[in-house]
Symmetry: C2
Subunit: 339 residues, 2 copies
């Protein structure tokens, strides 16, 4: 810990130790030695010298010379829900399988941080950049294009790069349908149902609202426009919305379409604080959390298919032909007692 300048071993040191040359050592260590006709004997000697000297290659130098970093980057709003955290985790695992090193950065849904992080990643010469849930994917795509880095959008689509997203409209329609079935089973098929959470500016929320409306229309149920309340993603935004509804209608809605687990958290807190009972209301949440699900088996939840989404992502990266604005939609799954 206290020794100053430990001076890491280089291939030059190894060359001396093994009584050989740097180029030979390099070839042996990176596996190209056969094609360079290095004798097996010398190769094993160098290899053993390297291992017992605890040598490790300097990726900076390798990347510089090869003009390929072997790194792929991802920017992500947050880690703190199951959807995003599993995206990060699976992305990393898939990258590793392919011999790539994944670096992930959280940008807190802040366009400036998104830009900065993307710039950082470009500086580190990532080979591709995945923009997950970016508030402004297109300006990042522009940046990347200017510097010759391919981008792919995940979760939220953009116009300047291909995108892999959930089938939000379908998912929302299925979720709403399940909610309506549940209401019907309770003998209240025409009771009011509201939509809470998300941002109207973002594509996913708009699609989910569209799916919500389609499902209602299909049953001939009228949906007053002001029962749709995309009040943002923060949990604290839910309380005023519910207060407002209660004040106006003197009663709670019979069902709530909740647009994210973070909104669900805010709603649950409000119910608890106000002393209302959640079990009297049908909840459908577009997003899935295992703890929420296990405590509320009657909740209907949409689980987005992260493994498939990430699989498609890598297919795109690995050269499947695609066009800039192309959007690949992955079907999510409805969980909860659908009886």
């Amino acid at each position: 810990m206290s020794t100053e300048a430990p001076k890491r071993l280089t291939i030059y040191d190894l060359a001396k130790l093994a009584d050989s040359s740097p180029s030979t050592v390099s070839a042996v260590l990176n596996g190209t030695w056969r094609s360079r006709r290095i004798s097996e004997k010398l190769a094993t000697r160098i290899l053993s010298v390297a291992t017992d000297a605890d040598y490790s290659v300097n990726m900076q130098a390798r990347a510089l010379r090869r003009e390929r970093s072997g790194i792929i980057g991802m920017i992500l709003p947050l880690y703190d829900n199951r959807y995003f955290s599993s995206i990060a985790q699976i992305f990393e695992a898939e990258a590793r399988k392919r011999g790539l090193f994944a670096i992930v950065s959280c940008t807190n849904r802040d366009p400036q941080q998104e830009q900065d992080a993307a710039q950082m990643m470009i500086s580190h010469r990532v080979e591709k950049l995945i923009c997950t849930g970016a508030t402004d994917p297109d300006s990042i795509a522009r940046m990347c294009q200017a510097q010759g880095v391919e981008t792919i959008n995940l979760d939220l689509p953009g116009k300047l790069a291909p995108s892999v997203i959930s089938a939000n409209r379908d998912g929302a329609r299925m979720l709403t349908k399940a909610i309506l079935d549940r209401l019907k089973n309770c003998g209240r098929p025409n009771d009011p149902i509201i939509f809470v959470g998300g941002r109207i500016e973002d594509h996913n929320t708009r699609e989910r609202i569209a799916g919500f409306k389609e499902a209602l229309d299909a049953r001939g149920i009228e949906s007053p426009e002001n029962n749709i309340m995309p009040c943002g993603y923060s949990g604290s935004r839910a309380a005023p919305v519910l207060d407002g509804y209660l004040l106006k209608h003197k009663a709670l809605p019979s069902a709530i379409f909740v647009n994210s687990t973070i909104t669900l958290e805010g709603i649950a807190r409000w119910f608890h604080d106000q002393g209302h009972n959640m079990s009297e209301i049908v909840f459908g949440c577009f997003d899935w959390d295992p703890l929420a699900a296990v405590f509320n088996p009657h909740f209907l939840m949409v689980r987005q298919n992260v493994p498939i989404m990430v699989e498609r992502l890598f297919e795109l990266m690995e050269g499947a032909r695609y066009t800039a604005g192309e959007v690949i939609e992955i079907q999510p799954e409805i969980l909860g007692d659908l009886t």
Copy 2:
């Protein structure tokens, strides 16, 4: 997207464009130009050329030459619970504040993956490596030492590097005490209480068991050794343990000390599957999840103080004097209706 070899701009290109020299361009771009007595006029010219050519420095080259990467690494078991995900998130934010780039890798509680990831990070020349919840922190520390990289342990302590962890024993004692208070308030002060989850091999679980016992002892309550069941971290391990208890005692315990949110998930699933009612039992969980908390306000939960832990971590990195095996313990907090 289709242009082959876009050839990124270098300081040599900029030098030509600005009619200057690479060394001058370099100095201007990295901010050392004043000390190199470059005229303000030339500096602004170069800067404007660089910005409208969308130049970005090649960190690989910079790192190679400077022999400092500006990168710090962290290995982490998983992202999929609030404790670890907030560790990653706060670590990243703090690194960014200090002009460092954080790279985080999940290692799935697998010693081999831990080793591999650590080796990867060393190859990328991280300046420090944080081992979070590592199953075998010491062999990683040894590896790092051999290659001149400082390590710090987080969450689980090691002998060969300083560690920042939660005060597990204190937290467990406080949590157990809160559980006992709750039982007493229900008029059942001497009812059985069990401990479920975690691995006996890991330091944190052992400490928590010790704290659990201390709290019981302090009240003169006897705790049969086989009421303590560190059955692992996986959620599915909980079911057989509860089955066994029920079979033996013909009744459920009145209180359960749950050693992680993942175990809590398994327990909740078992209660649901078996048709038992969780609200008749006092639950205390060593770990915190906001959704679990909001759905079960009566749950007692321990929230580890991640912001402070990460703060201490950076203090250690920034050269506070420390000795190899030193352990810094941070007090966690008990949440839940403590009335």
